[in-house]
């Protein structure tokens, strides 16, 4: 046993040293341990338990929560196919089948030789250049049969992922329409210089005047949030940038972090000055692992330029630094209180609120949690003033919004518009034809049908965090909804009864309909589930889980009608299929060995 523990102690010691034996960093420690060893070995848990003074059960419980952490060997290659509806529309399942065929592996099962493990994963945020996959946490885009064939070769020959063709990993920005943010000539340090001019109070005032609302989806007033945090008593204040971007169809933050990270970090730094924070976190979703080195380099450069660290721009006492924490495959960690739990090294279950993070956040201290785009906007506001910003967009929704457009259109990618733009305008600009529907703001958003394309994007009409998925007439809107429902069932944190069980019940119901066992009775059931989840769920995930289905039933009823058995009530399973095993075991195939579909 001792020699086995030594096997893990070497790499764990260096990780623990780097993390200063801080139990709050448990998620990062586990992630790094896995990156080194391939999975989290039981002996490694023992060692960590001893060194961090944490019970084994706690460490195992944390590892068990996150999709990207494994307690069992997962092979030399862990291949995860992004399974958002946009990936499916581009034929990802064919590619998955081909890869599995060629490499003699079943999805979800470790291959016999321990070489690889293949499965699907939730939207990886590459919808504009899909189908996409993650191999050992690194993103590969634009999958084709050719690429898959090459990948099979590489895997067979045990070529390390770092030596694979560079073009596989060339993730593009695809910026299609720039406005004040994407088209800004922002120079690193300019917003901080403006901060120096205006002072903390001055900048806070500008943010308030700007009427900026959070760009992560909830739309809370950024000025109010910063003000509340600033006023809240605490030993330390914290600034957290929510880069968990897990909402299917959303990939705008990916681009901001790739090409506009100075603007984002500068916004965080301004916030730190306003609220009195010395430490900030960028919580980066695990699927964007490929951005880590670049972001660390940007932070390092900013430190060298005195834009981060101690005495920023020469101001004594203005000390602020940013640490990057990676997520590990849990959409729920995009919810701000679950994100904070994750930062504290725990399972990502949302907290009871009130109290809210602005008063009781990270380590129970006052914390601002804002989206990537929100922080970038505050840099612009710091420079150009709040009135300028408020003059753009609409009365209720000031400024611009970045959309991540994907699906059936000629030019998927990033489009920045002032708020108030119509859905029709976006469709025209991205080259969408024969559009049947648009899913705005992802799985938890709204499905817009053709007669609504004149509606406007903004908090007063159709709010959005940015996702804009386009479906043309050839698409089956039932399958779109079903994809989203599977997503919610997979991503439910499991804390509260209504969402934990309800999302599975809903998923089963949609599968029932998909297999031709649906009846009008099921519609009533879905309605009832929705009311329950809306009223009793612990967080927004439960509240939104039924939305995709209700929207599509209301607006695309024919897609459901064709799956109804035209009876009042149909059992969820194939009764004749339920006799299959018995037929096999007895060798019978006579009439009595079968059950016909009934007239119930």
């Amino acid at each position: 046993m001792t020699s086995q523990i030594n096997k893990h102690s070497e790499y764990l010691d260096s990780i623990l040293h780097f993390r200063r034996h801080n139990a709050n960093d448990l998620l990062q420690i586990l992630r790094e341990a896995q990156e080194h060893y391939g999975y989290i070995h039981s002996d490694a848990i023992d060692y960590l338990s001893e060194k961090l003074n944490l019970p084994r059960s706690k460490i195992e419980g944390v590892a068990g929560f996150y999709s990207f952490l494994y307690l069992q060997p997962q092979g030399e290659y862990r291949v995860l196919f992004s399974n958002n509806i946009t990936d499916r529309m581009l034929g990802n399942m064919d590619l998955l089948a081909s890869l599995c065929d060629q490499l003699w592996v079943e999805p979800g099962k470790l291959s016999e030789d321990g070489l690889l493990w293949v499965n699907t994963t939730s939207c990886t945020g590459l919808c504009d250049q899909g189908p996409a996959m993650l191999v050992n946490n690194i993103a590969i885009n634009r999958l084709t049969h050719d690429r898959i064939n090459t990948i099979c070769e590489l895997i067979r020959e045990h070529v390390p992922v770092s030596a694979w063709p560079l073009e596989f990993f060339a993730i593009e920005d695809n910026i299609r329409r720039k406005d004040i943010m994407l088209g800004s000539d922002f120079k690193s340090g300019s917003a901080l210089a403006a901060l120096k001019q205006r002072g903390a109070e001055g900048v806070l005032n500008e943010v308030k005047i700007s009427k900026l609302r959070g760009r992560g989806g909830a739309g809370f007033s950024t000025g109010s949030k910063w003000e509340l945090c600033r006023a809240a008593p605490g030993e330390q204040h914290y600034v957290v940038c929510n880069a968990d971007e897990g909402e299917p169809g959303t990939f705008k933050d990916r681009v901001l972090l790739n090409s506009y990270s100075d603007m984002v970090f500068e916004g965080m730094t301004i916030c730190a000055r306003v609220v009195g924070a010395r430490k900030g976190f960028l919580y980066l979703r695990g699927e964007y692992r490929y951005l880590l080195d670049h972001l660390q380099a940007v932070l390092q450069r900013r430190r060298q330029q005195n834009l981060l660290g101690n005495s920023i721009l020469g101001e004594a006492g203005f000390d602020f630094d940013i640490e990057i924490h990676l997520g590990a495959g849990a959409y729920i960690c995009g919810e701000e209180s679950a994100l904070i739990e994750s930062l504290e090294g725990k399972r990502g279950t949302p907290r009871n609120r009130p109290p809210f993070p602005v008063t009781n956040g990270y380590l129970n201290q006052p914390t601002v949690v804002n989206n990537v785009e929100t922080f970038a906007a505050t840099s612009l506001i710091g420079m150009n003033g709040g009135a300028w910003y408020a003059g753009i967009g609409t009365e209720t929704s000031s400024g611009t919004k970045i959309f991540s457009v994907s699906g059936d259109c000629e030019r998927p990618g990033l489009y920045e518009y002032p708020f108030g733009v119509t859905v029709a305008q976006v469709l025209a600009d991205c080259g969408a034809h024969h559009t049947q529907a648009v899913q705005v703001s992802g799985a938890s958003g709204i499905c817009i049908a053709a007669h609504e394309f004149s509606r406007r994007i903004g908090f007063e009409d159709i709010p959005t965090a940015g996702a804009f998925m386009v479906f043309d007439q050839s698409r089956d809107m039932f399958e779109v909804a079903r994809n989203f429902v599977h997503f919610f069932a997979h991503e439910s944190c499991g804390f509260c009864t209504p969402c934990r069980v309800g999302t599975s019940l809903l998923s089963n119901m949609m599968d029932k309909l998909a297999h031709g066992f649906g009846s009008p009775y099921d519609f009533a059931e879905i309605e009832k589930l929705n009311v329950l989840l809306q009223s009793t769920s612990h967080c927004g995930l439960g509240h939104s889980a039924c939305n995709p289905v209700l929207d599509t039933i209301a607006k695309f009823r024919p897609a459901y009608e064709k799956r109804l058995a035209h009876k009042d009530y149909v059992p969820a399973f194939d009764l004749d299929g339920a006799l299959f095993q018995a037929r096999q075991m007895t060798g019978r195939d006579d009439r009595g060995a079968h059950l016909e579909r009934g007239n119930e």
Binding site: C496, L505, T536
Partner: protein
Amino acid sequence: MIEAHIWSVAMNKDNTFTLDGKLIPYHEGQTIIQAAIAAGEYIPHLCFSPEFKPHGSCKLCTVKANGRQTASCTQQPQPGMVVESNTKELNDERRVLLQMLFVEGNHFCPSCEKSGNCQLQATAYQLEMMSPHFDQFFPDRPVDATHPEYLLDFNRCILCSLCVRASRDVDGKNIFALSGRGIKSHLIVNSKSGNLADTDFSAADKAAHVCPVGVILKKRVGFAIPIGQRTFDEQPIGATPHPTVKGA
């Protein structure tokens, strides 16, 4: 009894709320359900226990506070707050939550040693749950009989985390924890083998006595309390604000 409570606290609008029309006093730091229980009122609950910090996972205790639905175990009252609990709408919701719990696990009452002393079962009786309504999941869940004195039957676990809280906060042992996510969430124990026998769990632990359902069971007591004399044979769970369970 309620009158005695009322007169013992200075009654003004600053520290009372109404629960189904009844005036309930509260003090700073109490949640709705805590104040209700102190005043002798019953709100259905499973993961809440007066001895532990509120958890908020089962959602049975959902009430309507000033028109908004919220978990009464985590919601702090406000002066003059109007709280509704015993309404058809809320009881219908609670019944569905119970049905969800019943289909999620394998709750086979006829052979369960906790039957009659089980809070899940008793709450379902209280809310007249006549059938599970949904299709049963029939999950494949383990039974851990490794410990010499205690049995763990995970078929019945409702993830209330009372054992987790008791073991961590009272026993200081951290025997129990939750792992997995979503519908795959499950209880684990603090040992490498995953077996209870390899932990320092003991019959004297608080955690051995807090399970509201039939997961953590003392071995070799079987059906010691005859039918008719079990906790919830004698009175329904709604007869008291929070039950004192026999044989716990």
